[in-house]
Point group: C2
Chain length 242, copies 2
DNA sequence: GAGTTTAAAATGTCAGACAATTAAATGCAC
DNA sequence: GTGCATTTAATTGTCTGACATTTTAAACTC
């Protein structure tokens, strides 16, 4: 691991990259301890604050964890699903909002991916997944539910649908598509009639999964896609007029 | 924006969180300048190095960029697709390798998602996408190509397939699924016969997209899924025996 | 008025110190 | 010897103050 003191890039960025590469390439394994900050400072011929800045960069990416005390130090961290989930969702959401992705594009992507899960979920969903979906449908039908809560529940429903496929990689990749839609969905005003239609489709999806009928689930999802798109268009039109 | 000096968490982590929240919530917009490091140090009642550690954390997540000089400082950064791509791929790859996800799970997720793209790609692919796919097929047929290069080309082929759907959100979400498979694919030894089968299926996919035939593309992808799974199983079995 | 010089502001880096935390080594009573 | 309390050492977390570097803008000169 070497750095170039004459490079225009920050030393701390270079050091972070060197260590990151070592972790990603597998040169350093999970729970392995990095040299202490002082030792790293000596190795890279920089000061300790500079090393610390580099370590903080890695900590921000969940690549290392630090422990204080005698046997402390920085350790290569096992990236957990939950952390990766959270990071993925944050990044996806920011990407959409900062780049002004239109509703149609995000919606299309989300439902295309969800439909890919439908047959697998129909085959493998557990009673737990079904129960979650039914519970969310029930919640969605409650009177006086705010639009935001309705969206929350919608996301939870669809997450259960995706998780039903029993493939954590799939769940992870889809989390970004489903959750990052939420800010866009929150722009929509859901009338009672809108909600009734959505709840009806959700029920059809849950019924289809219960019967292990992937095709029926796919059909209902396709209808939900179309319906959501029209709702989005209306909302955008209303927004533009205002 | 406030922090709690008595919290067990690092001050720099707290400060980073406070600023990150301000960015994510939209309180700070793209290209807005943060206060200078000294000003932030005053605001949060900490020293400048601590502030700097916080800023490096944010820089590691591509949330801010820094400029030196008189009008310099830290600015809220527009998250670009390319950066988000790279970050997403790195995280996905690490997640798979660190958690020992098995080939089957990763493969299933990848192809399920790709198949979701097939109809859209069949409808919208441009001549550019087709040309890329044909070029990669040609590359895959070259004699003496190393297994690693073959995998590279395979990823490039599939990326073109996904990009053909013309939905950047879809491309982004799928990048993680497709690219993170590469380390697993690299464990496979591709015999000439294996390659011939794969190239044949790639050709069928390209032909189908050329004819805007989504169903045919889907069928070929399904076959490719099954074939890749058997290759993976063989490789894992051989690995286990060794 | 154009070009040059200078000053100021900001980040990047360094050195050294002290505080806080943690685990191991040490010492002591029994 | 054993168990408990104490000390010690190692390490990260934080602070202070300084200097280097980069960049812009103002001041100055011609």
């Amino acid at each position: 691991m070497k750095i170039d003191p004459k490079s225009p890039a920050d030393l701390s960025a270079q050091i972070a990259k060197a260590i990151r590469d070592a972790i990603i390439s597998g040169d350093m394994i999970v729970d392995e301890r990095l040299p202490s900050e002082s030792e790293l400072a000596d190795q890279f011929q920089v000061s300790r604050p500079t090393v610390r800045e580099a370590l903080k960069r890695l900590a921000a990416q969940n690549l290392i964890r630090t422990q204080r005390g005698a046997t402390g130090g920085a350790f290569v961290r096992r990236l957990s699903y939950d952390e990766a989930y959270a990071q993925h969702i944050t990044t996806s959401t920011l990407l959409l909002s900062m780049n002004a992705v239109d509703f149609e594009t995000a919606c299309e992507a989300r439902y295309a991916l969800e439909r890919a899960c439908a047959p697998m979920s129909a085959a493998r969903r557990t009673p737990d997944h079904l129960a979650t979906m039914r519970a969310e449908i029930h919640r969605q039908a409650q009177p006086g539910l705010s639009d935001e809560r309705f969206c929350d529940s919608d996301v939870a429903f669809h997450r259960a649908l995706v998780d039903g496929a029993g493939n954590p990689v799939l769940s992870y990749q889809l989390a970004g598509a489903v959750e990052s839609m939420q800010p866009l969905m929150n722009m929509i005003t859901f009338t009672q009639r809108n909600r009734d239609v959505i709840i009806g489709l959700h029920t059809r999806i849950a019924d289809a999964l219960e019967k292990h009928d992937g095709a029926a689930a796919d059909t209902a999802l396709a209808e939900l896609t179309a319906y959501t798109l029209t709702l989005g268009e209306e909302a955008m039109a209303a927004r533009a007029k205002r």
